[in-house]
């Protein structure tokens, strides 16, 4: 008796997951198009692409957060090892553990999987910015990987209260 129920629940979960993946990228997430894929890796390696990038307009130039999704359609995993940006004195990668942020040295981009940075979860932390990014601007960052070549992403600056689920 238990099995069919569990299967149904799992199926539903999978559908839900798939749709979340389709998400609300839509025409609004400008970075997906401008980032391109990393062509540096071999045919059997990781195949990376970046989408759904945004930066909520920060309160000041001292700190900002960035969010994006790195998809890997390749058959090998890769690792995001660092992020650089001309606009910031430092960009660090953080994961949220409970209600505190922990800096990490790298994060996996699994084969046929995704590495997701989203509000409340993983995020890029920009510190010591040269100026305060404002809505409508773009912030260029370079993602560095263990295997693939660097990927440049133009992260659009959205409103301070931007919600990717609603797109505004």
């Amino acid at each position: 008796m238990r099995r069919p129920g569990t299967a149904a629940a799992m199926a539903a979960g999978m559908v839900f997951g798939a749709l979340t993946l389709a998400g609300c990228g839509g025409p609004d997430s400008g970075a997906s198009g401008s980032s391109g894929t990393s062509g540096a890796s071999g045919s059997s390696g990781a195949e990376l692409s970046v989408s759904s990038a945004y930066m909520p307009q920060p309160v000041s130039a001292s700190m900002a957060a960035g969010f994006l999704t790195i998809a890997n359609t390749g058959g090998a995993k890769d690792e995001l090892t660092s992020v650089t940006s001309d606009i910031a004195g430092s960009v660090t990668v953080h994961e949220t553990v409970g209600t505190s942020m922990q800096e990490v040295t790298s994060l996996d981009v699994p084969a046929h999987g995704r590495l997701v940075f989203e509000s409340g979860g993983n995020h890029l932390m920009f510190e010591k910015l040269k100026h305060r990014p404002t809505q409508g601007q773009k912030v260029a960052v370079v993602l560095h990987f263990a295997e693939s070549g660097p990927v440049t992403v133009e992260i659009p600056v959205k409103s301070a209260t931007y919600n990717p689920k609603t797109g505004h």
């Binding site: 839900f16 749709l19 839509g26 309160v59 001292s62 209600t99 409340g120 301070a160």
Partner: protein, 216 residues
Amino acid sequence: MRKKTFAAAALLAAATLTLSACGSGDKAEGPVTVVSEETSQQAATVLDQPFEKPDLVLTDTRGKSYDLRKETAGRPTLIYFGYTNCPDICPLTMNNLAVAKKQLSKADQDELRIVFVTTDPERDTPAALGAWLKGIDPQVVGLTGDFATIQAGARSVGITVEAPHKDKNGKTVSTHGTQVIAFSPKTDAGYLVYSDQATVDDYTKDLPKIVKGQNP
């Protein structure tokens, strides 16, 4: 068994809705609309047993002593515990509140008290708090003081915050609350809890009720 199947169906329906909500095609038909009403649930959790307002006497952004209970007595009050060196949830939460507040009448805006209590008092001096809040909404009350006092105040409304500590690189790691608590002007009790999933729209919808001490 029945129940499980139903839950799965509901989840599926919700998933379908999520998809359609993002698209531009407006093909919502009868059944979908019904689900839509169910999924656009209240952001607020109404507490059966409201919290007493934390008994906090701290320092405001001008460096003056601020007695939370005395200063906010009889006023609709929203309290959040966070810190300014927080890139994600703290500014998002505060901006959500600030943007929603601007939809209120001027009189209601002046009546409402939004209080940001730092969980990182060492770095969040009155000046640092003031500068940060100015970038969000200068009307927000920013409070700092002794961490143990703040922690106890947070705990009294069900919010756990840890003392800031240094990670192995010497960087300070702080914690923030995830909830916003709304206090009624009628009872001064904390009767609503919002999670960090609450959006501008949620607060915009609920603030007019909160100002009157009503349930959203």
